[in-house]
């Protein structure tokens, strides 16, 4: 094997190692979340919180609600789409709002939802 071939082979080994590392880390993280219930928890929070906010949006008078979870979660609304994550580097679960709700972003164990003239989140 000449020098060029040897370099190519080393580069491919590095490529293999990178691919293996990415596959293992992503798979391990995902499977871990799946089996300890975090993926389902995210899905549930997205649907439950989304529907709660939709219901609060048509209250005939002012209304407040506190949405509490046992662990911190990230929630954001962009273009009337609610996205929920529990950790920074993971895929989010989504819910499409019925109502028109302003964009927001929040990371906490509890979320304060208030409907005066429109829905606000603190």
């Amino acid at each position: 094997m000449n020098k060029k071939g040897a370099i190519q082979k080393v580069l491919f080994y590095i490529f293999y190692l990178l691919i293996a590392f990415i596959i293992l880390s992503v798979s391990a993280g995902y499977l871990n979340n799946y089996f300890n219930g975090l993926e389902f928890n995210k899905e549930f929070i997205a649907k439950d919180l989304g529907i709660t906010m939709d219901v609060l949006s048509f209250s005939p008078s002012e209304i407040n609600a506190v949405y509490i979870q046992s662990e911190e979660f990230q929630v954001e609304s962009v273009n009337n789409k609610l996205r929920v994550k529990i950790r920074d580097l993971e895929t989010s679960k989504e819910y499409n709002f019925i109502s028109n709700i302003d964009d927001f972003s929040k990371k906490s164990k509890q979320i304060w939802i208030k409907n005066e003239d429109k829905i606000t989140v603190k």
Partner: protein, 151 residues
């Protein structure tokens, strides 16, 4: 082994890695295919929002009157501002022998006739007997709400 053979050899190895990666993604996707079925409750919330929200059809003066809808608010433009765009809705209002129909989010709403395809669409129909408030009087009316969304 010369460079050309070496390259072909590595191309095959990269292809095998790609196929393996694809299989892992498919397996992960299939085990995570659970979902929470919320279509029914979302449709219920939507229909109630249409008739109870003063941004939609509910009549309001100094307060919102539940069970009374405002004739002036029964327009496509007004309702499109009240409802988000991922659900198709067909509203049919009947009062004093007059029938008015509005489609919201036409791309979905005009497919209500295809609701028999239950694998593709989730559809619901509900009929409400409401009081219709016009400028001069209150009259009985029937509002039929059809909702359609992609599963």
């Amino acid at each position: 082994m010369d460079l050309a053979k070496e390259s072909v050899y590595w191309v095959f190895r990269v292809m095998i890695v790609g196929i393996s990666l694809g299989i892992v993604i498919i397996i992960l996707g299939s085990i995570s295919s659970y979902s929470i079925k919320y279509d029914e409750i979302q449709s219920y919330v939507l229909k109630n929002k249409i008739i109870m929200d003063d941004d939609c059809l509910a009549y309001s003066d100094y307060r919102t009157h539940l069970g009374i809808i405002d004739k002036d608010k029964f327009s496509k433009v007004h309702l499109q501002n009240c409802i988000n765009k991922n659900i198709g809705i067909r509203l049919n209002l009947i009062y004093e022998g007059v029938s008015e129909e509005i489609l919201i989010n036409d791309n979905l709403a005009d497919k209500i006739d295809f609701c028999y395809d239950e694998k593709t669409f989730y559809c619901e129909r509900e009929r409400y007997f409401l009081t219709l408030k016009t400028n001069s009087k209150e009259i009985p009316s029937v509002l039929t709400i059809d909702t359609i969304k992609l599963r």
